[in-house]
């Protein structure tokens, strides 16, 4: 057994850190550190910088732009994203539909879509959840029927569509066989241009005041036949692949690690004051949790392909989300009444990194209540674990 990073890993780490620090626009970096929502163009500009370096889709097959990184290297990179404070690339194209296309799509689809995803020429969003289909995704009701030309006509409503307001394309699960004996067997995976006539996007504000999710309505939207991925009525297989494919990043270890470092600095300022000991203990416990999360993630990533126990992804998702939530809760408490001001209500720009952290404390706490809900609720994750260990 050997639990150390290799010398290659460490020099990889230095190389990536140097590149990220040297390449990011300082204004963008300042916004990322302050938790301020980035403009679409800022994210696009950044991904183009990565793409030019060959690093925008490092986990893809090299044929389509992958960098040939190991899972461990991908993890190192991810942590540096948060540590240095560069934008997170949107995952819907690069980590969700991209892998579906290069795994199940036609050669034409690969040539057409993959380069544009890698360079963020096309911004993708996800059309899975519906008002009546959350945890029970297979009960989705959006339908796609063939028209006289063999194209699809899409009707229905998707919800919780992250950043649809920026999106050029949306991948959609729709029902194409209403007579299937099992509801999972009547679903297809379609690629839809967001500029198609019949699409309406309605913003959904979240309780922290931000606009990151939307509802998307489809009213007789024509989808060309060549935008069906794989086989008709096999969409559920591709969806399961997509949902299970995201092995790194689900636990958000790097994000929480970077956050806890900043909270430590803030708590140190309170030393000697009332309540300091309690906050220090809470922080220490979270740092211990994070350590455990890191080790479990390393064990998962270091495992040979196909040898990862089926419980690991769920374990990481549960603990990753709970640890992140606890960190945001701690920050909200440590910040005291300074965290009470609403978004944009603090009066004057923060004067230092601690004030910046305090200014985002409330929004971060309330917004991150979502992490135990999205990506498969923690209740569903526990069901997955129980099923795996009990056999039923």
């Amino acid at each position: 057994m050997n639990i150390e990073f290799t010398a290659e890993d460490e020099s990889f780490r230095s190389e990536v850190r140097a590149f990220l620090e040297g390449s990011v626009d300082p204004r963008t970096r300042a916004k990322v550190r302050a938790g301020i929502e980035l403009d679409k163009q800022e994210v696009v500009d950044w991904v183009r910088v990565l793409h030019a370096r060959g690093w925008s889709v490092p986990h893809w097959p090299s044929e389509w732009g992958g960098a040939g990184w190991t899972l461990l290297q991908q993890m190192i990179y991810r942590e540096l994203v948060y540590e240095v404070g560069v934008p997170e690339a949107p995952s819907f194209g690069m980590s969700m539909v991209g892998p579906v296309i290069y795994t199940f799509g036609s050669q034409e689809q690969k040539k057409r879509f993959l380069p544009r995803i890698a360079n963020l020429d096309d911004w993708w969003c996800q059309g899975f959840s519906e008002p009546g289909a959350g945890s029970d995704l297979a009960s989705l009701r959006a339908t796609a029927r063939r028209d006289l030309h063999g194209n699809w006509v899409l009707d229905g409503q998707k919800t919780w569509t992250t950043l649809a307001q920026h999106a050029d394309w949306i991948f959609v699960l729709a029902r194409t066989n209403l007579d299937a004996s099992r509801k999972q067997e009547g679903i297809s995976f379609l690629l839809v241009n967001m500029r198609s006539p019949g699409i309406t996007v309605r913003p959904l504000r979240t309780i922290d005041g931000g606009h990151e999710i939307n509802e998307v309505f489809f009213d007789g939207v024509v989808v060309p036949a060549d935008q069906l991925v794989g086989e008709e009525n096999k969409g559920w297989t591709y969806a399961k692949f997509l949902l299970g494919n995201e092995r790194i990043g689900q636990a958000r270890v790097g994000f929480t690690k970077a956050r806890l470092r900043r909270i430590r600095t803030l708590i140190a300022r309170l030393r000697g004051g009332p309540g300091y000991a309690e906050f220090e203990h809470r922080l220490l416990k979270l740092e211990v949790e994070l350590r455990a999360l890191e080790m479990t993630q390393l064990r998962m990533l270091a495992a040979a392909e196909g040898q990862v126990p089926p419980t690991f992804a769920s374990v990481l998702k549960i603990k990753g989300s709970e640890t992140l939530q606890a960190a945001t809760e701690l920050l909200y408490d440590v910040a005291g009444i300074a965290a009470l001001a609403g978004p944009g209500q603090h009066g004057g720009a923060p004067r230092d990194a601690d004030e910046e952290l305090i200014a985002m404390a409330a929004a971060s706490y309330f917004n991150n209540r979502k992490v135990s809900i999205y990506g498969g609720t923690n209740e569903i994750q526990r069901n997955i674990i129980a099923q795996a260990v009990l056999g039923s």
């Binding site: 922290d208 009444i337 001001a341 209540r369």
Partner: protein, 373 residues
């Protein structure tokens, strides 16, 4: 021993709940929050007409001589409906401070105007810093010169008068300051739960002698803060009740996998845990309101701080569970649950969060002979 409401208290609860149900829907609330005052003057007048603003005061000052239970009923109803009006600030804190500290003539002038709705007061202090930490009052010939910055005064922008604690000659004084006075800058802002507040800057504000409410107010501020914390506890309980009921109803009606999600055992248990939190919170809110007026300092501070600690924890657990059980919809701004949760958290922080109250309990009960019970 008896934990029941009297018929009059029950009537108060029923009529106030009905009033709020009719006039405090989500859209109405948004409009009140957007208005200049940040709350509804119309509703404030309705409260006055109902006698709510007069409840705790003596009859000879236009009050109704009501008991603490009426305050509990009122604050719970406000919590349920996410009311924005400054009842806590004006009636409980402002009125309470005047009753303990102000000369009789000042009380005779101001209390009836609080009771009839024509005067809104705000307390120029918040959080767990000691009163007097933010503002200094220097004696001058005409009266006092005030200097300092108060980072948070809830209702500070809409109030006509501010009660300002300030350190003066080594003690904590309280001064009554007109909100529009020269050299006072008021930056109005909103809390994350929609409550209207202000940051106050005193740049050499001159007030005359008649504005002095008391030159040695520390103890009285402590007592009124205890009463206000007890009121806050009740308001949190009201919000918890509404959050619980929304969640219960959602579990009954929301279907996934062909059944109501309330049939899944893990969710049933979480709902049951919410009931446990709610019952303990109700119990401690009662303890706090019944003891917050006690002259026995240990009994009073222990009850109020215990209640604050318990209820802050219970509200957090219940609120987080409520969001989780609702799934994605619980995260949306459109739905009231998120607002109830933010209100609970915001109230729990005010006038000393759980950490400050736990520290106070440690101070009172650090000795092995004096347990919290």
């Amino acid at each position: 021993m008896n934990f029941d409401f009297t018929p009059e208290q029950q009537l108060l609860q029923d009529s106030l709940r009905r009033l709020l149900k009719d006039h405090y829907g989500a859209e109405a609330r948004r409009q009140y929050a957007r208005s200049g005052d940040g709350f509804s003057r119309d509703m404030w007048q309705r409260y006055a007409e109902m006698g709510l603003l007069a409840l705790p005061f003596p009859q000879d000052l236009g009050g109704l001589d009501a008991s603490p239970v009426e305050t509990l009923v009122t604050m719970q109803a406000f919590g349920r409906s996410l009311a924005l009006e400054p009842y806590l600030e004006s009636v409980v804190l402002g009125g309470g401070l005047l009753r303990r500290l102000a000369p009789p003539a000042m009380q005779a002038d101001l209390i009836p105007r609080i009771a009839d709705g024509s005067l809104v007061l705000a307390f120029a202090h918040e959080g767990s810093e000691a009163p007097g930490s933010y503002v200094s009052a220097e004696r001058v010939d005409s009266g006092f010169r005030l200097r300092g910055r108060v980072p948070l005064a809830v209702a500070g922008a809409a109030a006509q008068q501010l009660l300002v604690p300030a350190r003066c000659d080594g003690r904590v004084a309280v001064l009554l300051v007109d909100r529009n006075i020269e050299n006072l800058s008021v930056r109005a802002f909103q809390l994350h739960d929609g409550t209207s507040a202000a940051e106050l800057r005193f740049d050499g504000v001159l007030v005359d002698h008649a504005c002095l409410v008391s030159e040695d107010a520390a103890d009285a501020i402590g007592r009124v803060t205890d009463e206000a914390n007890a009121a806050i506890c009740s308001e949190i309980v009201g919000a918890m009740e509404e959050a619980f009921e929304l969640t219960r109803d959602y579990l009954r009606t929301r279907k996934q996998f062909g059944v109501a999600i309330g049939s899944f055992q893990t969710l049933r248990h979480r709902l049951a845990d919410m009931v446990v939190h709610l019952e303990h919170a109700r119990s401690m809110a009662i303890l706090a309101i019944m003891r917050c007026g006690s002259d026995d300092r240990v009994e009073r501070e222990s009850a109020v701080s215990s209640a604050k600690v318990q209820i802050a924890g219970a509200a957090r657990a219940l609120g987080q569970s409520a969001i989780q059980l609702h799934g994605g919809i619980g995260m949306t701004e459109e739905y009231s649950l998120g607002h109830l949760f933010m209100r609970m958290e915001s109230l729990a922080k005010r006038l000393g969060g759980a950490d400050a109250h736990l520290a106070r309990l440690a101070g009172i009960h650090g000795d092995a002979d004096t347990a919290v019970m």
